[in-house]
């Protein structure tokens, strides 16, 4: 009798714990769903036919999902279809964004790693001033200094060119890149480099063969961060580009027709534009978080 009662208490306890953890996991799932729902709604809208977009009441999944907007944006509008002007420019904007972001990343890694390396290893006079100056530059918002930069680009005849965007983007990301690389390079033991130099490696050789591979996670994080930031950049692109060099962020805001905004195409553009950053972020999550924590918390 006594024994049976105790047994049921244990059972009750286990049941209670099981229920609690189901509730807990359920709650976390719901929270994550709530956070993701806005994005999901954009994806759903992009594959809903025009009629279903404004249908009341709306449903979560379209009855006849369609990819015709994706086709229109990537392969161009079909005969007789009237589409906003931005539709034709979409592919060229996509190419612009890809070219600008990858070149910016390359420039930042090359210039940033050499500067960071020198700051760690070589006797550079005024090193401390430079580091402080970089921190200051990191704090300086683009919006405060956009007018001089615009005038500078105008004088250099770089308005509405990809080169102009690359110059400005790398300029803005370089301080952050140098800062993070600097903190990574500091963790690499000097002896390895000395050994390489005894074996006849030059300074540049040591940097390329020893230091860069050893700070792999740092380099990956910085590259991903630079690519993401240039891909996402809107303000400079809005001001500097007029037609030729428009990037994807600018084109996404331009899906207006004479009847108003074409939300269907706008969401489709948004979905396509989110693909590269989302893939990068998911693949490199660990590195990005590491790099950001190093940069943001220590800095």
């Amino acid at each position: 009798m006594d024994c049976r009662g105790r047994w049921s208490n244990v059972q009750r306890y286990k049941l209670q714990r099981g229920l609690n953890s189901i509730l807990f996991y359920g709650f976390v799932l719901m929270l994550v769903f709530a956070v993701l729902a806005p994005f999901v709604w954009m994806v759903i809208s992009s594959i809903s036919p025009q009629v279903e977009l404004t249908k009341r009441p709306p449903h979560w999944f379209p009855e006849e999902p369609t990819l015709h907007r994706f086709r229109a944006l990537i392969f161009g509008a079909g005969q007789g279809q009237s589409m906003p002007v931005a539709t034709e420019r979409f592919v060229s904007a996509l190419v612009n964004s890809l070219l600008v972001s990858s070149t910016t990343t390359l420039v930042c890694i090359v210039a940033g790693s050499s500067a960071a390396y020198a700051l760690v290893r070589l006797p550079v006079p005024g090193k401390q001033h430079f580091l402080v100056g970089m921190l200051g530059a990191q704090m300086l918002p683009i919006i405060v200094i956009i007018i001089p930069l615009y005038l500078l680009m105008q004088a250099a005849q770089l308005l509405d060119t990809r080169q102009g965007l690359i110059v400005l983007y790398s300029g803005f990301m370089l301080p952050t890149v140098i800062w993070i690389m600097h903190s990574y390079f500091q963790t690499i033991p000097m002896e390895l480099e000395e050994a390489a130099m005894i074996d006849g490696c030059s300074r540049v050789g040591t940097l390329v063969r020893i230091v860069m591979p050893l700070s792999g996670p740092g380099v990956v994080a910085v590259a991903a961060f630079t690519f993401l930031s240039s891909w996402n950049e809107f303000f400079i692109a809005l001001i500097l580009t007029a037609s030729q060099a428009k990037t994807i962020t600018v084109i996404v805001t331009e899906f207006a027709t004479q009847f108003g905004i074409d939300y269907g195409l706008m969401t489709t553009g948004g979905v396509i534009g989110s693909i590269p950053p989302l893939i990068l972020a998911l693949l490199l999550q660990r590195y990005i978080v590491q790099g950001l924590t190093a940069g943001a918390i220590k800095g």
Binding site: F24, Y25, V28, V32, V35, L36, P38, F39, W41, M42, S45, L53, P57, P58, A111, S114, A115, A118, L122, P123, P125, F130, G133, M134, G136, A137, M139, P141, I143, V144, I145, I147, P148, Y150, L151, L152, L168, G171, L174, P175, R203, F234, F235, L238, I248, T249, T253, Y263, M266, G269, G270, G273, S274, P277, L278, A281, Q285, L292, T293, A296
Partner: protein, 280 residues
């Protein structure tokens, strides 16, 4: 010696051309009017006499403070939740998923929320209706609700970043401290109040500062969502400065607004840093 210079030179050049020169130039520009006449502090006087400018300062502060407070509080809440003991795979999956909004382009975030705030295209009104709430869903057209609506979009957008930072700091708190507090009879709230909060104090202030600076100059979201409207009720300093320069072509006045932005940010940052140092 010269080798060192060659390595640093690209960085120095960029820094000079991209930061130092423009900063000095903005200060100089702010003293000239539209016709390139030197007017001293005329532009600054003009700004303080412009009700629209003062409105944009006020709205900037509402946007920034509301965003930062919600980021830090909600971020901490979710971080604590994800820091509870749970299945590892589940935790990692949830963490990756919840990071998604942060990776999305700000412009696309604006598109998403324009969609959600649109009375004809959004799913929210019908969800509310099924809960028995009949609300007129026209947030971005409403002078009173547009600013909170834009702020909510901003909170959603960078919440994951703050959550991740706080989660990383939470994981750095030694477990023994909680055990010790438990032995001393502290309940879950007391443990949060007397172990977690003191440990996170500095990172909380740092994140607040970080957010403050970031949101203060954040242009993309508001511009794509409302362009400062309706009736200027979402105009912030960033959109105001942009309008003066690239719609009215009054570069001098816009530069003055930029200088004021810079000064406000400087003063607020120093204040927060002092707060951090003093109570350490």
């Amino acid at each position: 010696m010269s080798g060192g210079y060659a390595f640093v030179l690209p960085g120095v050049l960029y820094l000079g051309i991209m930061s130092l020169y423009p900063m000095l130039y903005v200060f100089q520009l702010s003293l000239y009017d539209k016709q390139d006449e030197f007017i001293g502090i005329g532009n600054f006087i003009k700004a303080f006499n412009d009700p629209l400018f003062l409105l944009s300062v006020k709205q900037s502060f509402i946007f920034v403070v509301l965003s930062a407070v919600c980021h830090v509080c909600l971020g901490l809440l979710i971080a604590v939740l994800l820091n509870q003991p749970m299945n590892r795979l589940f935790r990692n999956t949830m963490r990756s998923l919840i990071m998604m909004p942060w990776a999305i382009t700000p412009v696309v975030v604006a598109v998403i929320w324009r969609l959600l705030y649109n009375p004809h295209l959004s799913i929210i009104p019908s969800v509310l209706e099924s809960l028995g709430l009949n609300i007129q869903w026209m947030l971005l057209a409403s002078p009173t609700l547009a600013l909170p609506a834009v702020t909510v979009a901003n909170i959603w957008f960078s919440l994951p970043f703050y959550m991740l930072m706080l989660l990383a700091s939470l994981q750095a708190i030694p477990g023994e401290l909680y055990e010790a507090a438990g032995i001393d009879g502290a309940n879950i709230f007391q443990r949060f109040r007397f172990v977690t909060i003191p440990h996170l104090r500095n990172i909380l202030i740092t994140l607040f500062l970080f957010d403050f600076i970031g949101a203060f100059v954040f242009f993309d979201l508001i511009w794509v969502m409302t362009k400062g409207g309706p009736a200027n009720r979402t105009e912030v300093m960033a959109t105001y400065a942009y309008r003066q320069a690239f719609e009215r072509f009054d570069f001098g006045y816009s530069a003055a607004v930029a200088v004021l932005m810079f000064l406000i940010m400087l003063v607020c940052s120093l204040g927060l840093l002092l707060l951090m140092r003093r109570e350490e």
